[in-house]
Amino acid sequence: MAIASSRTAFTAALLLDRRHAANTAAITAVAVDQAGCRLYLGLEDGVLEEHAILHSSAGVRASLAARKHAAKKAILSIQLLAAHGLVLLLSEDGAAQLLDAETLEGQHLPLRHAVAMCVAMPPGRPPRLAVATKPGRKSIRFVVYELVPPAAGTAGGTYSSARQLPHPQLLAQTEVPDASSAVNGMAWVGGQLAVCAGMRYLLVSPFGPPAGGNGNGSGGTAGSQWQELLAVPQDLAYSPAMLAAVPELGRAVLVVGPAGIVVDAAGSPVGSTVRLEGLGATPRALASSGPFLLVVSEAAIHVFSQDSGTEVQRLDFAPGLRPAPGQTLHAAPAGPASAAGGRGGNGEAGGGGRTGCVAVAGRRLVWLCMPVSAADQARELLGLREFEAAEELIERGLLQGAAWALVAAAQAALLLLHECRFEEAVRYLDRCPPSTFQPRQLFPLFPSYTAAWTGEHAGQHRQQQYWGLHSPLPSLESLISQHLASTTPQQQQQRFPQQQRSTGSRVQMSASEASRFGPPQGSSSGSSGLFGMDVDGSSGGAGSPAGSASPAAAAGRAQGEAGLQRDQHQVEPAAAAEQNEQQQPGSREEEHGGRRRQLQRQAWEGLVQYLFRARMIAGVQCLEGVDTLLLLLLADLGAARQVAAFAAVPNQVDAAAVEPRLAAEQWHHALATLHAARGEADLALRIWRQVADGQLASPAGPEVQAAEQREALDSAAALLRDPVACPEAALLSNLPWLLAVSQAAALGVLTARKLQPAAVLPLLPPASDVRWRYLAHLVAAEEAAGVPADPQLHTELALQLAAAILVADPLLRLPTPDSSATPRRRVTGVPGERSGTSTGGRPPSRPGSSSAGGTRPLSRVGSRSVVVGGGGGRRGSRSTAALVSGGGVEPAAGASAVDAMRLRLRAHLEASNAFDAAAVLGSLQGTGLHEELVVLHAQAGDHMSALRLLALTLHDVAAAEAYARCWLVPGDYRALLHLVLEPGPGLEPRWGDACYLIASLGDHLDPQEVLQALPPGMPLAAAAPVVAPMLRDRLHRRRQAALVKNLHRARLAAAAGLRCDAESRHVAVDEERACPYCHLRLGGKVFVVLQPGMGPAGSSPCAGASATAQHAPAPPSASAAAAAAAPVHGIAAGTASQQQQPPSPQQQRQQQGGEAEEGENLPPPGDDGLAVAARALQQQLADNQAPQVLCYACFRRLGGQQQPAPDALLAPA
């Protein structure tokens, strides 16, 4: 038997050759047990033979163990239940028997016309036997028995001699109409039976319809159901219908012409069709085994993978043993494995279940197909370098967690490395844990890089031979050389179709030549790559955005070319020798060079990826060597950026080993990063300083160099910031340099760390930005920490900030801003915004100023009014700093640097009370920092100085007014007025400002003072602009006051009227009072008070409700009745003492409004609700109407029965 396909899933051996045996009866049935040790043959004369299968190194052999004439006619089917010691037979005469496997003795099942049978071993249940019988032409009956073990069964078989047979218990039976002549096959599919009857496939559910309920025989008897799955069409009927069970998955394979359709228990197709069309012969028998389907045709045994539906192996019959065409063939999978059953033969757990033996029989020949373990298959495939086929197996093994699969993966990886298929090799390596494959096993590929580490573990990794299919790894260079030497250009083209540069010349490299490509001897070439070349230049800078890598990579490339030349030089003698034989050595060399570079690059890239991943895994040995190798490989790839990135992560790179290389590549940044990561801050800083200063520049364009310098500076600053990596001393020693290079970076460092200010401050240049910012940082930190303020620090901050401002804006050194000619006015409050008495009190317009939205000289804050709004903010409620800044102390978006600093200074001066005011005052006085001085004065309580600055120096009377409101008591507002009227020697009185103040602070100021201050000789025309608005304002105030007064008076009158009304409703009821209707004393009775205008019937509840108000004190005895009656409308009992009617809501509102809003919201007097009420009251009084008091009985009588109109009720009075 020859093996046609490369994959060996099964081996087949001829087990029996009965062609020359004494008994010439043909084989009609075959069975083999799960263990592959027993073979049963059923013969056409009704004889059952049991053979022992002997496995030996020479092969397999069968020897007859037992023989029994079991049936009168040919045995058609043998089923084994080895775990239960049972053999089931079906013979042509329609009898079914249950035999004891030991004795082959047994009993007949109580049925006739049996045509097919099958067994299943449902988990946790006794085995189940299904028998198909054909009692008539028109139908098939299916009978299902449960083979209850004898211990549990009651009456055992009467035949039993040595041992009781199980008792077959009828579970179900069902009948299916079918006219076909034969049942060709039957198999359990889950709880159903897949049946092949004639050219039809049926799905029979003997236990009732399946849960899915897709049977179409609705209304069937006794819950039996069946459905036709499909009928083989005429066109496809050339191959017989047959089926095979896949019991592990609860599926069955149905043959329909060239298609093997896999169906599940619901009868739905599963997965792709098994493609039988390529058999080249008619399929005659089927058996499934694990993930395989074995199809026996007249030509061969075909092994199909059920997953892919494709043929994976073909076991051809030897020519002499080939079955005759049309001959019946039998295939029997190993009997069903019980749950407790051991491993079948050398079967392995496959995808679908155990892969067991399969017995195949012709008329006189029996073959045994034995599964080859997946490990063995993989080993074989790998030995043949059939990587694709092996991969499938290995993947499956890895998925199942099989230990062999890891070995196989490592083995495959090593073999692939030898084939220079680096990518695939790495894919396998990635699957191997360190316990299977250690990254350092790759060290031999790079002897010069790993020389320091190969020695110590040499012994260990020589042991890792796996399946011994590979030779030890040579250096990568010789590996590639060998590979190039051994592959022809054609092969290369196949594998690397993208590289079709073949010249057609054959590569014939001698072994000696190949060896000359060996690795460079020794590790003296530490400064250049192992291969000394950068490939393709495509890696230039490895995508470095900062561009720092590009120059270095270029340098690496330059060296690489030198290295390449050296290589070529080495090869030259051999090449020269070749030249005699080869026509085009140049092209060959060139081609080799290209291929070599390509392979090297693939190797580096693949292995770098692998090492990156592998080094993270716990259990990796010799991490130092791995990391060093990784870094050097990255260097070989010219990946400066990745080198730097890798150097920055925690690693164990041997810095000494890579330093020369990185230095030679001019990858200063990477080297410094490495040093920094190793905790050698000084070394790292030295390199970065040199790079940043341009002392260590790579030979590249100025742009790249600038980027490098930036990067070095950033990195150095980052290192200096890190308190762990960089001690304070190192920082301080580098600080002057950093300050010189970048004050911003220096500040970043200083503010990121906690340092001794005493050590730092002397290093900071005076009046510099960095100095005051650092001080500000210290102050803020102090505050955040809750430490008591350090006056020195605060003073220093103020002084430094002021100094920095003066440095930044030298114009401010002058005491008066040169804009003094134009008075500065910031935004003043829009008059309408100010409520209260100053309605419409506009400040007099002044030349050169705009009232609203005007110039804002001091600050850019425009959105908020600087003038304190509302009727006087409380003292101290608003910060002076915010006031002089125009509303806030945060710099707005567009604020200039100087403005921001000034805001900062003001905020500091206001917030801090720890600084030395005198010192700060000294530094500010005489400068243009007036606003700051205002804050300072305010803090010191020198309000006059502050006001003088605001009103006179800054010409900002609105701010001065706000300041006064903020800090002065109203009695002192005069001082401000005086200030503007008498500004001092040499200064003109500021009439406009004075008018403004009179208007805005008018309540507290006397315009007389302004008038008196007017110089006597002033012409009226000149005085008019001052006097007229003032007069207007006064007049307005007077009118307003009169208005308010009158309004108040009106309200007073209304209130008095209300009081009258309330009092008139007041009735006093005592025990002596009698009801005016029945003239009886009220005594303790319930009584009713009716206000004038109300009928006794309380004709509306509202009217009644308003009458509940007043009653005189009544004796306590009345209270109970009154309380009970009270809810009745209009009725009150006199327990409560006299009450004042609560004021109506409207009244309340008006009273409050009067108090709080000074008549602003007063309704016009004519519309006053109170006046109406008062008028009504007066009317009542005039009519002499008084409230009526009557007893409840009369009230009911009068109101309840007659429902008199209020007028009628009032009449008796």
């Binding site: 109409p177 899915g212 309920g213 897709n214 179409n216 025989g217 609705s218 209304g219 069937g220 008897t221 006794a222 459905q227 036709e228 799955l229 499909l230 009928a231 083989v232 069409p233 066109d235 496809l236 329909v256 012409g257 060239p258 298609a259 093997g260 359709i261 169906v263 619901a266 009868g267 739905s268 197709p269 599963v270 997965g271 792709s272 069709t273 098994v274 493609r275 069309e277």
Partner: protein, 198 residues
């Protein structure tokens, strides 16, 4: 995200050589083979469209007439069917109409989505078109089918076709379980004798 994928059974039907396998190969693997082998039985593919929360279980059936009787097994319980014809081949359009009829008769899922696809439009430019687009479009509109003209070869409308089908699938509907009652056209199911119990 992944676990929210709704599995949907999709079946391709149509005359042999109309390009069913090519369309599926294009959609699932992005590949196209000039000499695609004729399908035997049926091929099974899966493809997820995570954006649409759909995982298609695609049954690519054989178009050869001799496999016709297998088709019910495959379209039973399908959520969607793609009926393919070849725009250069009028007979294939007639066959497609028959498939639509058969689906309407035998699939009881009222929500079954049927898409009619005229494949090989790349050939239409060469004047090889035999089935006018308007005819097919009208037919599809009348019968309530989605309609596309596509080319597996030039990858025209392939992704759109499957996307559209995915869009039409009932949201969050569980995969259609085979819901009883396919009627095999060849052999009407004999009704078993009425039960005589009780």
């Amino acid at each position: 995200m992944i676990d929210q994928l709704v599995q949907s059974k999709l079946v391709l039907l149509g005359e042999m050589g109309s390009g069913k396998t090519s369309l599926v190969q294009r959609f699932v693997r992005g590949q196209y083979y000039e000499n695609q082998e004729s399908t035997i039985g049926a091929s099974f593919f899966t493809k997820a469209i995570p954006e649409k929360h759909v995982k298609f279980e695609i049954w690519d059936t054989a178009g050869q007439e001799r496999y016709h009787s297998l088709a019910p097994m495959y379209y039973r319980g399908a959520a969607a069917a793609i009926v393919v014809y070849d725009v250069t081949h009028p007979a294939s359009f007639d066959r497609a109409k028959k498939w639509v009829l058969e689906l309407r008769q035998n699939v009881q899922n009222p929500n079954l989505i049927i898409a009619l696809v005229g494949n090989k439009v790349d050939l239409a430019e060469d004047g090889a078109r035999q089935v006018p687009e308007a005819d097919a479009r009208t037919y599809a509109a009348e019968t309530g089918l989605l309609f596309f003209e596509a080319s597996a070869k030039t990858n025209v409308n392939v992704a759109e076709l499957f996307d559209e089908v995915a869009d039409r699938l009932p949201r969050a509907a569980a995969p259609q379980q085979p819901a009883g009652g396919i009627q095999l056209s060849e052999q009407p199911t004999p009704v078993p004798a009425k039960s005589s119990c009780c």
